[in-house]
Symmetry: C2
Subunit: 707 residues, 2 copies
């Protein structure tokens, strides 16, 4: 005898009703969220469905519920399906958006989040760390979800393994579309992290399959596996500046993934640490990354390693992968005075190479720890081929838009493989919004006698507009000008001297112009004088804000002049702590009479690899009578997650700069790519150095044609 | 015909009444503040008295009005006398306690603050800068006031010179008692500053006379003159670790001051920069300071100096001073690659020396810029006496408790001089309070099974009490223990193993024990384990608070053990940013399995000369398997205001510590006095260095008997 109860459909309109409805729901019931904007809501859903009859929680109509403001979703109980939630225009009030637990006593099991969208739902402060989806419990699933460009610190997705209730979890992360993640400029920009070093010796068994990763450039780890026996397979990685990394934990499987670099710089593949991994049937194509971002890198370990450092690679098999036109395949990566333990009993066999670097693959230890055999290469008859590599013939097999080389015994088994496409992933209903500008761009002209109108004019300008300064007079301002959109400010053509910004309030201003979140600035033909009559000081010509930011700003300064900054903490340009310039380009400009620093990108002092500008270019500039450094770039510590800072200094003149004891004229501490050329140092650095790098052996540094 | 109006006496009981009463007062009126505690009051007094009939504002009864909480006093108008105000148990809500202006349109002139007391009225955050008395306008006076131990940043007294209304001001700062100022551990610990570099080329004409400075040890500048034509005369400086400094501005007069060092280390005298000063009739006695703290130092200047750097000394006269048993008299102080301009046309004549260093006086330039003539020395017939010095005879003249040498043509004119005594200065009515302890000290015994009672027990303990841990078990704590008074925590004698502190909450704790303002800790025989079962991490064994502090703490750790700290930011001991340990002494202890730093005194990263501990002593300790540095001490930049850090490391063993690229096992960045002896380094610093100093040429560094 069976009793058939008809499933109910319950509509709810606020978090309290939702919570009660889910708690009371019978297996098979559906809870509908009322069509509207759900703002500042902490949604807690905990209920009990069954495998056959889960409880379904979803919007009344697709695309007509959006969750905004400071909002989050906690899931408890079992067999719940959350479908079609759309988070945008806000950020988490705590440290996660979707969490598979209500609290430590109520973890979710067998729950599913599907067809959801999370769009830039990022903390306003880029160093306020959180995650978008946090797994606890077992057998939970995130699928067919679109995750767009997380801006702040913290992995987009985490699985936690603190105790047995969340270990051997068989979670599935599948068919998701990871749509971009901007360079974060620090460790903490991972897209997925499974486990954490402290619990990395436990088994996770999480499945990361059939996902599409597009330009996930947060840091060197796109996927960071920190636990054992996970499966990361059949995913597609497109133009990702980083790799799939077995960071901690053993016996992980990496099968049938497609890595497409499109020859973009820094695009990476797979990186291995710890014992027992199996890597096979993957295709690596047009990857330009080297070192830790190699198509394949197998690291050296650390003797007697602490849990969060580098265990030795042992007993791994890397077979039947195809490498097409990749810049680096590297064994013994990271070898240095500390990482001295070479990989041991690593079999590298039946892999196929097409094109690539001259070396094809490279072993920095050469102690037999890696067993190279039966690998093949197309059309390369050089007689210095590395050990275990012979010429091979291939046919071509078409797969979707690509055609791949195929050989039945070496390389990936293209015949059987089916690579996931963008269209198969993410929330099918979701169409990104496009925003049209309100009007065409225009110029606003201001005379020096109208200085008091600058602020109001800036406010009515839209992205791309230009503020033209019409005459040579003093621009008398009483508060800092704020730039929070792309704006041009320039002197009108033909002026005899540069218009001069001065502070005519009795307050000290942080800067004449402050860049806030969303701001970009083009500046041309202007002067910024830090001390004027008996008025308050101005601490910097241009500065990024002291307030939190999560977007990277751009500043372009041409033909400008910065002078009379009278205190040691003052500077011509200052990038504030925790802000990141995508690019700072200064050309044809003069910095003089500055008691602090000319260009200060050294406010971040922590030795965590954080820095203030990704690309800094300073050309044809003069620094004269500067008490501190002319240029100060700082990235401290030995973090290996990031690419920047990139620094180019060319055709500059340094005159009477930083002669104090132990002083440095141009500080390029931790710059990973630096070039300082064609420059003149005159009566500079008498008590210390002209240039200081403190670089690592892998950094790319050039100094040339300087006196 | 004259109209005689009887002066009124008005009693007021709140700030509003006070303001109205002063505004309405007639010359000669008296305003009485009601006897009571005036808490959280912003007192604004602006009125118009006359030279003959000032308006008097004072308490109803002496010593029965106290001003507490967040309170301040602004003075405007003219001929007001503020008498007998007593500030204690609070701090300024803004950046000053007593200011001689209401706002920029109403500066005080001819006003007087007398017989007042300001007791430790300091911002709770030591780096929140303010001042106790700020002069604006002209002809204002602070006299017979007692100023007790300012704890936070900022000069105790400032005179501002922003425009003509405050220049040539003839302010008088006289007969005040500066009763102690603790070492501040950074620039910004001046007792008096007159002017500021930006306006230092203007004339101030401030009189600082007949004051008594007792142990004003804030920083290298006790009095910092940054303007022209001031007069600093007839003051007494007792055991001050710093000097009277002509920092900026010209033509200042320093006459008839008495400097008594009592042979305490670092006690200083007068330091000269800029042209035109006259220094005469001063007595320097038993001063042990050298370099910038010499009894007399005349600095080298900087070519083309910016306004806030070092102008050349020229056209100065230093005559008829007496130096008794002083360690250093130095011409060309600070000479280095930047400070290259020697003093010129400086006459050093008719000065008298009794005892002192072997060199008597020293000229580091020897280019004739200083003209030495007619100086005399008692009982020294060495035939290598420096130029301009001959043996001299003296008689003894008794002055108060001292007897001084006298010669009618050389040395100070003791016959005419009368040195100010403590009793002649400060508020005559003021008697400092003494506080008696509530009871005799005692011990509280706790078993490991009673861990949950530790917090409550600590709360009922008084300064000096002891918490005894009675057995070897785990001390299970769920939140950090807070120490805000002097407390001992120790294992009971005779235990077989150390009791172990562990975190059994699911939260991450900042530390097992956190030192807050007022805290001192003696720790003995205990272990602190950072990771335990699946519970939350603990980031440090012992740490100072992240909250603001203004008192220096002391920690003594003996026979303790710190282990299992699993993240790079974790450490055994951590001094938090902006806190200063007076002393940290660690003996016979073990630091092992730490992914961060063993002893972390490097959280302060700014290059402003700020550091985390004045005295660090680490003896007989073992650091084993530490991923970061074993010991990290940081004082960045080239500030010359402070004495610390003093570091002693002896008989330590470093095993498998910081082998990463560019890593350093023991970082002693900027330590001014360091000794590392009798220690063993085993498999340490493979990628970098064992020890890093980055020291200046004047620092005192010793490394000896290490492998
Ligand atoms: Ca990472
Ligand atoms: Ca100072």
């Amino acid at each position: 005898m069976s009793i058939h109860i008809k499933a109910a459909t319950i509509k709810v309109s606020n978090p309290k009703e939702l919570k009660a409805a889910v708690a009371d729901a019978k297996p098979g019931d559906t809870i509908l969220l009322q069509n509207k904007e759900w703002k500042d809501v902490l949604l807690k859903v905990s209920g009990k469905g069954t495998a056959q009859k889960p409880i379904l929680i979803m919007p009344e109509n697709k695309n007509e519920v959006i969750i905004t403001g400071q909002s989050a979703l906690n899931i408890g109980g079992e067999y719940l399906i959350i479908k079609g939630f759309h988070f945008k225009n806000g950020y988490s009030p705590k440290d996660d958006i979707i969490t598979f637990r209500i609290n430590n006593d109520n973890l979710a099991n067998n729950c599913r989040v599907t067809e959801c969208v999370i769009e830039e739902f990022s903390q306003p402060d880029r160093f306020h760390s959180d995650s978008w989806v946090v797994f606890w419990g077992k057998n939970n699933r995130l699928d067919h979800t679109t995750l767009v460009n997380k801006l702040n610190a913290g992995p987009t997705i985490i699985a936690e393994l603190n105790d047995e209730r969340s270990q051997e979890n068989f979670h599935s992360i599948d068919h998701n579309y990871f749509k971009g993640r901007q360079r974060f400029g620090s460790n903490g920009g991972e897209t997925i992290r499974i486990g954490v070093s402290r619990y990395s010796l436990t088994t996770s068994k999480t499945q990361i399959v059939h996902n599409y990763f597009e330009r996930c450039n947060g840091e060197v780890e796109i996927v960071s596996i920190k636990s054992g026996q996970n499966n990361v397979s059949f995913n597609t990685f497109v133009e990702c500046e980083g790799g799939l990394v077995m960071r901690h934990g053993s016996k992980n499987v990496v099968e049938g993934n497609l890595f497409l670099g499109n020859n973009k710089p820094f695009t990476g593949g797979v990186r291995l640490i710890n014992p027992g991994h199996h890597i096979f049937n993957n295709v690596f194509k047009d990857l330009q990354g080297t070192a830790f971002r190699s198509a394949l890198s197998v690291l050296n370990g650390v003797p007697n390693s602490l849990i969060n450092r580098y265990y030795q690679v042992k007993d791994a098999t890397i077979n039947n992968n195809t490498f097409i036109n990749c810049a680096s395949v590297l064994f013994g990566a990271g070898k240095d005075a500390e990482r001295t333990l070479s990989p041991q009993n690593v079999v590298f066999a039946n892999n196929l190479f097409i094109g690539g670097s001259d070396k094809i693959y490279q072993d920095d230890n050469k102690d037999g720890g890696v067993i190279f055999k039966d690998n093949g290469i197309l059309n390369n008859k050089a007689n210095n081929l590395p050990q275990g590599l012979s010429p091979a013939k291939v046919s071509e097999i078409k797969k979707g838009e690509f055609s791949f080389p195929y050989n039945k015994s070496i390389g990936a088994d293209i015949k059987k493989l089916s690579f996931v496409t963008k269209e198969e992933t993410g929330a099918s209903w979701y169409k990104p919004q496009t925003i049209k500008p309100k009007r065409a761009n225009k110029s606003f002209e201001i005379k020096s006698t109208e200085s008091e109108n600058i602020k109001a004019t800036l406010e009515k300008m839209i992205a791309g507009d230009t503020l033209l300064i019409a005459d040579e007079g003093y621009l008398r301002i009483n508060e800092s000008l704020v730039i929070d959109k792309p704006i041009n400010i320039m002197a009108k053509a033909g002026l005899k001297t540069k218009p001069i910004f001065v502070n005519t309030s009795f307050k000290t201003l942080n800067a004449f112009i402050i860049i806030k979140n969303g701001g970009e600035l083009n500046l041309k033909g202007l002067a910024f004088k830090g001390a004027f009559e008996s008025f308050g000081d101005t601490k910097a010509g241009i500065a990024s804000t002291e307030e939190p930011m999560n977007k990277h700003y751009k500043v372009n300064i041409d033909h400008c002049e910065f002078y009379d900054y009278n205190e040691g903490s003052y500077s011509g340009f200052k990038g504030s702590k925790s802000t990141l310039a995508d690019s700072l380009i200064i050309t044809n400009s003069l910095f003089r009479n500055i008691s602090g620093t000319g260009v200060n990108l050294g406010e971040e002092k922590d030795d965590k690899g954080i820095y203030a500008a990704e690309y800094t270019v300073i050309e044809n500039c003069v620094f004269s009578n500067v008490l501190g450094s002319a240029i100060n770039i700082y990235r401290g510590g030995n973090d290996e997650s990031t690419l920047g800072p990139f620094v180019t200094i060319d055709h500059c003149t340094f005159n009477e700069v930083e002669n104090r004891e132990q002083g440095t004229v141009v500080k390029l501490i931790g710059a990973q790519h630096a070039s300082l050329t064609n420059s003149i140092f005159s009566y500079c650095g008498q008590g210390g150095r002209s240039i200081e790098f403190r670089e690592y052996r892998w950094d790319e540094i050039k100094v040339d044609y300087c006196n």
